[in-house]
Structures are given as C-alpha cells and as structure tokens.
C-alpha cells in the first residue's frame, strides 16, 4: 500500500481534497487524555464537516466513549484542542458548548414526563416561555410521540425512551450531536428500524453527528466516514468503502469486514512488491518491507476464486483441504483448514457451492496478487 | 468540571471528613477514658490503667443486668424475625387491600416516642393484672424489635426475585419449604442485618424498659443509668468500652460473612 504520509493514508486530515482542516465544523487537534499512568486518548486528530455523520468504531476500552465525552465536555482532556464551528471549546464548560448527547442508557429524567424532559433544555437555555410548548410539540411530532407527551418515563419501552432522548437532544438545535451506542439496548429488529429513522432525521436537519459503536455493521450502515479506534489511537478515518478495500493497518483489516489472513515471512522485496513465504506456499503482495520481516498477508473473501484441486488460475494460489462450507442465504462462505491464528475464508455469492464442495475436499484458492494486502505481524 | 462543581466537591469531602470525626469522637473518647487511672474523666489520662475493667467484676448487679439484656435481645429478636418474615412475605407477595397500610403500621413503632409506648404498656399490663417483669419486658421488646426487622425485610422482600420460588415449586417443593430453603438463604444478608439491628435496638432500649423493670429485673441500660446517677466514675466508660468491642466484633463478623458494605446497604 502506497501513501504519501501516514496521516493522509489514515484519512485523518483533509476530508475533501483541498479543504484546510481548520474550516471544518469540528476540529480535534492532538487530544491527549491520561488517567494517572494510563493514556486513554493518544494524540488524536480528526476533522469533521458540517452535516457529516461519523462513527467511532472500536473494541471496548479503545477510548471511543472517552473521546465522545471529551467532545461533550463531560470529561476533561490532558492536552489538545477542540474547535466547534470555529469556536475554541476545549476549556468551555459542558453546559455552554451546545453539544447534544444521547446516552447509552438514555439518561431521561425520571421525575419528569416526556414533554417535560424535552422542554428541559429549552428552559435551561432561557428560551422564551411562549415558544416552549410549540417547540416541544414539534419535537414530539418529529419522533411520533405526540400521544405520549404526558407519560412518565418509566412507563415507556426501550424504543420509545430512545426517541425521547433523541428529541430532547435535538430540540435545542445543537451544533453537534453525539450518540453513545444509542441502539445497544434494543433488539435487532427494532434496532434496524430506529437506525433508518434516525439517519433520515439527522439528514433532514443537516445535523452533524458522531456515533460511538462497537458494531461494524451499524457503523457501515449509518456513517459517511468511520474512525476505527484502537487503544486510544485512530487507526484510520475514512469512508466505508475505503476502509474495506484499503485498510491502513492490520487492525482495521480485522475489525472491518471479514478477510483471509495468513502469517508469513518476507523472502524478497522490490519495487513495492514483496514475496512472502507462508505455511501454504509462496504469496505475492504489495508493500514495503525488508526481507526477513514477519508479516500478515490478507485478502477480502469475495476476491478469492475457488476451484477443485488441480485447476489453476492466475495470481496467488494456495491449495488446502476445505474445513467448512457455511450457507448465509445470499452468499456462501468456504473455510479452509488454516494453522495457528490464520484464517482462510472465501466468499461466493449464491448457494451453488453447497452442492459443489464438501468439507475435507482439497480445493485451490486463487486471487490477484494486487489485491493482496500486507501488514506487519503483531503489535499493530 | 466547572469551578462551582469543584467547590461543591471539596465542600462535600470536607463535611464528610468532619462527620466521620464527629461520629467517632464519642467512641474514641469513651475508649480512652476507660483506660484512665484517675477517678475523674480527664483527658488525656494521667496514667493508663485497666483497673476500671477489673472493678466491673465487683459491680453490683452488672452481670445480672447484662444477662437479662442478652436474654431479652436474643429471644425477642428471634420472635421478631419470625413474625417479621411472615408479615413481610404477606405484604410483598399478597394482593389484598391495605397492604401498604399494614407495612406503614408495622414500621411505625420506630417513630413513636419510646417513653409513651413504655407508659402505655405499663398501664396496659397493670390493668390486665400481668405483673411479671420478665414476661412484660419480653413482650415489650418484641414491640421494640419488630419494626426494625420489618423495615429491613420489607425492602429486601420487595426486591427479591420471586421466580426463584416458582422454580423451586415446579421442581416439587411445597411453598413453605421453598421459602425456607430458597428464599431465606438467598436473603441471608437481609436477615442478618435485620437481626443485628433488632438485637442492638433491644440491648440499647431504655424508654420502654424503664417502666417495666422492677427491683430484681433490670436491663443493662437501666442499670447503667443508675450507676451514672449513683457513682459516676470511669467504670461506666469501661462497660461502654466492652459494648464497643462487642459491636466491633459483630461488625467484623458481618464483614467476613456478608461483606460490610453489603450488610449496611442491605
């Protein structure tokens, strides 16, 4: 993979060509957060445009919620700056930042009704008394909760609570909306419905939003761009296609989408191409590595062709016994018998492979060398 | 955090620190005074001595009072636990009208002036011709302990997951047995706490007991107040220190078996 600077490759700077980072709606510069000796946020940089919907995706403990809270002003940062709509808000108290938050547990006020919850922000900001009932009513209509205006919070279902939480945050027209795993408490079917609803709601309002999630499908479905985080750093910040086809690091490769990955050692390198020796035979890929380096060679499953042993194709090829054939409705996954922590999986659309291949059979997997991604092994 | 929030946090810590010192001061003072060599309560003591503890052995009627109090506490607590369990179970599980009223009623003696209850019981027993001090004391102490038991058990039963009992019953256990063998063990911290508070309430009770004691049956608090009036010397402090040690022991026991935080927080 070729990149002029690491930052560009990771997509952290310059969301659209030629736009200087500072004119973005939200600019995060060199944010560091330390708890005693533990660095939770490690020099983070990010720029988001107005109206963009962005996800922070990563495993638990990667710092995504901490970053969200730092942007909201609920957690102090150790160093760095945050600018929203051109205004420096790093040292500004949370209640003056005009950043809306939808919490994972919704954090609705239990002693207030639905309507009172929504009115809370309006009252706190000193909105004219006469206006409040209309704005609350409009907000209730927006999330289709008009009938439940006077209901107590505790009598609502999970989905209803979520809608109130969103309405409450949006009614005060914040500059930015932050959502911390807003769908995690809902069951699958409801989740999908709410995702669609929320996305169109945000689009209608032109609201800039940042989601925190650990579910890559959710991130892929909702966002213009995704920041994949790991251990306090942003590994890559790009649109879903780029993340999938051109992952910047091995972590992104593994976290976003499925992939075949095998470990090996570089035998020779020239002109941006490397030869790798693996337990399954030699492979070729793109990358800059010194001979002898331990690497991981990877490729996306849908790019692999599967044929019966003996038939040949062009590019990289390995022949291995088939371990499993898994039908997933619209596609089939074929798993090869891999060693150690390697994963060998090919994806074929349709259900034909079920009839064609059986576990135990020896198969030949081929794919273009140019599609082979190479990353350093371990400690990414 | 804003400056105001920071200030509020500092103030709350300062107040909490003061409160801890405030609450523990009498305890520490008593412990210190009980080891003094002088017959007056001066601090710091001129010299350390355990003579006041030794003097307790000769204290007239102390042993009898202690035994009586322990006796009353144990038995009344046990009765209160049984009565409390059945009542709390009925209130938390039943659907009959007036449950809330019964719950409030059973806890209300806590908020009634003990002295008044003592007076009322004295006149009540006398009009019925019941004169045995021990018997009347026992009956009265159940009235003292039962509300403490009810308060703890009502909360615990209210948050108990009754599907555990349903599971036991589908496995063949009759209801009563299910309660005894599933619910009681599961709620053992609550029972322990309830029993502990009830026991202490009985041991410590003065206002009700003072009216029902007679020359031969004096509970420990009554006896101690008597000592204070007759001969206020540090031997009282020694008795108090003994009680403090007992309390510390009970707390340590509680922290080993159930966990201190859990125990106090129910």
């Amino acid at each position: 993979m070729l990149a002029t600077t690491e930052a560009e490759a990771r997509g952290v700077v310059g969301a659209s060509a030629g736009t200087p980072a500072d004119s973005h709606h939200l600019v995060i510069r060199d944010i560091i957060k330390k708890y005693r000796d533990l660095t939770v946020l490690d020099t983070l940089n990010m720029a988001i445009g107005k109206g963009e919907i962005v996800s922070l995706l990563g495993p638990s403990g990667c710092g995504k919620t901490t970053l969200l809270r730092a942007i909201a002003g609920l957690t102090d940062t150790s160093a760095g700056s945050i600018k929203l709509a051109g205004r420096e808000i790093t040292r500004v108290a949370a209640h003056r930042r005009n950043v809306g938050v939808v919490f994972q547990s919704y954090a609705l006020f239990p002693h207030l009704t639905v309507a009172e919850n929504i009115a809370f922000g309006l009252k706190a900001r000193g909105a004219p008394r006469a206006e409040i009932p209309d704005r609350v009513a409009a907000s209730l209509r927006m999330v289709r909760m008009t009938d439940l205006a006077d209901r107590s919070i505790t009598a609502l279902s999970g989905g209803q609570q979520q809608r109130v939480a969103v309405a409450r945050a949006l009614v005060v027209e914040p500059e930015l909306l932050l959502l911390d795993e807003p769908f995690s408490a809902l069951d699958r079917k409801l989740r999908e419905t709410m995702q669609v609803e929320l996305k169109s709601l945000l689009r209608d309002k032109g609201m800039t939003a940042i989601f925190v999630t650990h579910d890559q499908e959710e991130a892929l479905a909702l966002s213009n761009r995704i920041a994949v985080m790991n251990r306090g750093r942003i590994e890559q910040f790009a649109d879903p296609v780029t993340l999938y086809e051109k992952p910047a690091t091995g972590f992104v490769l593994e976290f976003v989408g499925l992939s075949t990955r095998v470990s090996g050692r570089v035998t020779s390198a020239a002109d941006g191409q490397v030869q790798i020796e693996t337990a399954y035979g030699p492979l070729q890929g793109r990358g800059k590595f010194a001979p002898g380096a331990s690497v991981i060679a990877a490729v996306r499953p849908e790019l692999i062709s599967v044929a019966r042993d003996g038939e040949s194709g062009t590019g990289n090829a390995i022949t291995i016994p088939l371990q499993d054939v898994m039908c997933l409705g619209s596609k089939t996954h074929l798993y090869g018998t891999a060693r150690d922590s390697d994963l060998i999986v090919a994806e074929i659309s349709g259900t034909a492979p079920l009839a064609q291949f059986t576990p135990g059979q020896s198969v030949a997997l081929t794919w273009p060398s140019d599609s082979t991604l190479v990353f350093p092994a371990q400690g990414q | 955090m804003t400056a105001l929030e920071r200030l509020a946090r500092v103030v709350s810590w300062a107040v909490a620190a003061f409160v801890i010192i405030f609450l523990l001061t009498p305890i520490i003072v008593t412990l210190l005074v009980s080891f003094t060599s002088s017959s007056v309560y001066t601090l710091p003591p001129p010299q350390w001595s355990t003579k006041w503890f030794a003097s307790l052995a000769d204290k007239d009627g102390l042993w009898d009072a202690l035994l009586l109090s322990l006796n009353l506490a144990f038995i009344s607590t046990t009765i209160a636990l049984v009565l409390g369990t059945t009542t709390a179970l009925a209130v938390s599980r039943g659907r009959f009208p007036g449950r809330e009223a019964i719950a409030t009623f059973s806890v209300s003696p806590l908020m009634m002036p003990g002295l008044v209850v003592g007076v009322a019981l004295l006149q009540f027993f006398r009009s019925l011709g019941i004169n045995d001090a021990y018997f009347t004391l026992m009956l009265a102490h159940v009235v003292v302990t039962l509300p403490f038991v009810m308060r703890t058990l009502l909360a615990a039963f209210g948050s108990f997951d009754y599907t555990l009992l349903d599971a036991a019953r589908t496995l063949g256990m009759p209801y009563g047995q299910a309660v005894l063998r599933v619910m009681v063990p599961a709620l053992s911290p609550a029972f322990l706490t309830a029993g502990l508070f009830a026991f202490l309430a009985s041991m410590d009770n003065y206002p009700v007991s003072i009216f029902l004691t007679d020359a031969r049956n004096k509970t420990l608090p009554v006896k101690m107040l008597q000592y204070l009036e007759e001969s206020p010397d540090p031997s009282i402090a020694a008795i108090s220190s003994g009680l403090i040690m007992l309390a510390l022991l009970a707390l340590m026991l509680g922290s080993r078996t159930v966990g201190l935080n859990r125990m106090i927080q129910g």
Partner: protein
Amino acid sequence: MSAEAITASVSQLAPVAKERDRFALLALPGLLYLGILFALPLLILLVKSLINAEGDLSLAGYAAFFSDPFNLSVFWRTLRVALLTTLLSLVLAYPTAFAMVRAGGWILTLMLVAMVLPLSVGVIVKAFSWSIVLRSNGIVNQALMGLGLVDEPVRLLFTETALVFGAANIFLPFMVLPIYAVVRQLDPNLSGAAATLGSGPLRTFLTVTLPLTLPGIIAGVAFVFSLAVSMYVIPSLIVGERHQNLAMMIARAFLFLRNEQLGSVIAVVLLAIATAVVFSSALLLRLVERRQR
C-alpha cells in the same frame, strides 16, 4: 414489549383467589401482635387521658396542661430542639451522602463503620461520652483554649446548643443512610445529560438532583425529627432538669411525681406530634414518588 412489562403482566396472573387469602392470613400474626401490644395500649392511654376523675369525657387535663406557661415553654422547647437537631443533621448528612457515593474501597468502609458503630454502641454510652467531651476539662474546651479562641473554659454542658449537637451526633446516621440509599440509585449520567442540555451546575442541582433525592430527605427528616422530639436519655445526660423536654416531663410525672393523669396527658401530646410526623411524611413520600412513577 419490555422485560418489565412482561414480568408485570405475568405476576398479575400468579395469585389466584385462594392464594390471595393465604397471604392475608400470613400477615395476621404480626398484625395481631402489634395491634394488641402496641396500638391497643396507646389507644387506651389516649382514652384514659380524656376521662377525668368523675368518669366523664373531658379535655380538662389538656386544658390544664396548655394553660400553664411553664408547660407551654417545655412544649415549644421540645419542638424547637427537635427542629434544630433535624436541620443540623440534614445539613451535615446531605453532602456526606454524596461523598459516600463517590468514595470507594476503604474510604467507604470507614464511612459506613463510622455510621454504624455508634449505632451499635447505644444511646447511653454515646450521650455519656458527649458529656465527657463537653466538660470544662473535656477535649472540646481543651481544643478551644489550645487554639486560643477562648481564655477560660466555656460552659458547654447544660446548654441547648450542646444538646442539639449531641443529639445530631447520635441521630446523624439515621439521616445519612436513607439519603445515601437514594443517592446511590441516581443515574450518574443525569447530571451530564442536564449539562449537555445547557443546564449549569446550580440549575441542575435544583431541578434534577434535589427533586430526585427528595424521598431520602423526607424519610431521613421524618425519622430524625420523631427521634429528636421524643428523646429522653440524651437531654437527661447533657442538659439535665434545666432544659426539660416533654419526654423528661413524662418520666418525671410517672416516676417521681406519681401523677399519672398528668403523665398520660403529656404522653398523648407527644404521641400526637409523632403521629402527625408519620402521617405527613408518608403523605409527602406518596406525593413525591407518584411523580416519579
């Protein structure tokens, strides 16, 4: 459908008519016991105080009691001391409860022990130790003189201030624990949510935190006030006969003056105060909790 909704509907299916009666029966022993040995004697006391020497119903006893200015002063003093004690306890307990929730590990254990150990030690021991602390040669005076705030020992014992502090000291755990129990259950994200909606710290406290902790405050205040209004041992040891309260008058009437009529009247007055506290606090709690249901 949420988990709670399902559980609620299932549990409504559970008790059948026969089971309903069975549970009512379970409540009977406890109810009967308290009914006969608590409610009944109090009722008899009340009735007796309303019957004069001739056997007629009369409020003469009460009239006589309230017409005596000394009695009135004792009455007001009792209420005043109880109110001050409750206020002081509340002011100290409220911040402490929040500190406890934020504390962890050994600090929390220390605080819990500080709450519970004094409870287990007994009123007499505590009141007694306070009287030691407040003496002319006690540590408070020693500290005051040591700090140079006073030149000679201040008379602390036998003052109403000492009584309020001593009583607050003894009743403080009963104010802290109910408030602590409520604060513990507060969603920590609520104040954050209020802030992101534009509510500054003071506003958040007044509109979110305070209303939500109100049940704990009401429970604590009711309990401490009723304890403080009827305390006997503590004032006996700290202020003595000089600043009698109603409870001390009752004891005196029965144990020394042998005037049972007077004693009964005062007892009923005290009982009325306590009952009023119980009812009003229960009502307030119901009101507050209905809002949060």
